[in-house]
Symmetry: C2
């Protein structure tokens, strides 16, 4: 029928995570996007809609992908406590990788929009709820497996792990020394001891 796109919309979406993550939503201009993505103005509008549409697509894609991985790991067979540890170690390994870490900062840009964008706010609500449930169930399993003290407050711990994981990108942004992330996560995990 017609010519095919000269770019891979999925790759461009990943790249837009980096750009929005670097400049923030309002801080990102169309020009930033066009130069960074290497596509034409009209291609952007035809493929993704407005700047806000692109931002929301990028945020949802990023979070859905991460959350799916985390939940899958939490529900995987074996030690639940080990699963939780690995989720955090995997996260800091991404944040230490110069190529991968850039996408993560779209989290902070998205959180900054929560007071102004009800769609994003609701999306975070749902994401946190799903993750909290998954962490909670994992903590139940950890107790059953005898790897988590019976006196631990699983509900509080689930919320804590949730928000601690969310805070990793902020720690990474503030700390040039990657060792800080190691220390930060190793202390987080002591809350399970």
């Amino acid at each position: 029928m017609a010519r095919s796109k000269e770019f891979d919309p999925s790759i461009v979406l990943r790249k837009s995570m980096e750009i929005f993550g670097h400049y923030g939503y309002e801080g990102t201009s169309l020009q930033n996007l066009l130069e960074g993505l290497g596509i034409a103005r009209q291609s952007l509008y035809d493929t993704y809609g407005t700047k806000r549409d692109l931002f929301i697509s990028a945020v949802k894609h990023y979070i859905n992908e991460k959350t799916a991985t985390v939940i899958a790991r939490l529900e995987s067979p074996g030690s639940a406590k080990m699963a939780i540890s690995e989720i955090f170690f995997e996260a800091i390994s991404v944040l230490k990788d110069d190529a991968k870490r850039k996408e993560c900062f779209i989290m902070d840009s998205a959180i900054a929009q929560v007071p102004h964008d009800s769609e994003i706010a609701e999306f975070f609500n749902q994401d946190l709820k799903r993750l909290e449930e998954a962490f909670y169930k994992a903590l139940v399993r950890a107790q059953e497996q005898g790897e988590l003290g019976e006196q631990k407050d699983k509900a509080a711990l689930a919320k804590y792990l949730n928000h601690s994981r969310y805070s990793l990108t902020q720690v990474a942004k503030l700390s040039s020394d990657p060792k800080v992330l190691d220390d930060f996560v190793s202390v987080i995990l002591t809350t399970l001891e």
Copy 2:
């Protein structure tokens, strides 16, 4: 000599923390500021300089004030462990107060500027360093007082407490339920047990 200002520059500075915290740095327009602050355009430029100047003044004023309070508490006589707890309880009490919490969100707006503003980046560097040292010394005292296990990694804990405290505003922004803050902080403090 001449007439005096019709506004209190200190109060206006506090109000600008709220505005920048709500909209973010780039998301805040001059019009937002003028309407929110209730002062004239030229008054703003005469008193504070450019938008960026005002932002930096607000950020520095906010952080310096908070940090001074935290360090003073950490160096105060008595139980060092109690001091650390109180710092976190005080923080969430501010974040639960509708009138006080708004200013706090300038933290997130400021952190978002770290990659683009070397002055802010350096300021955070120094602030985190000062706080980390203060936390570390408090942890040393806590060990001396017999309230912190000898095997604890004080350096890692100091960094951890630092960044956990910094992450409180993000937790508050994402959680409508203030109980989440209680749970979050109560788990944080278990790292000292």
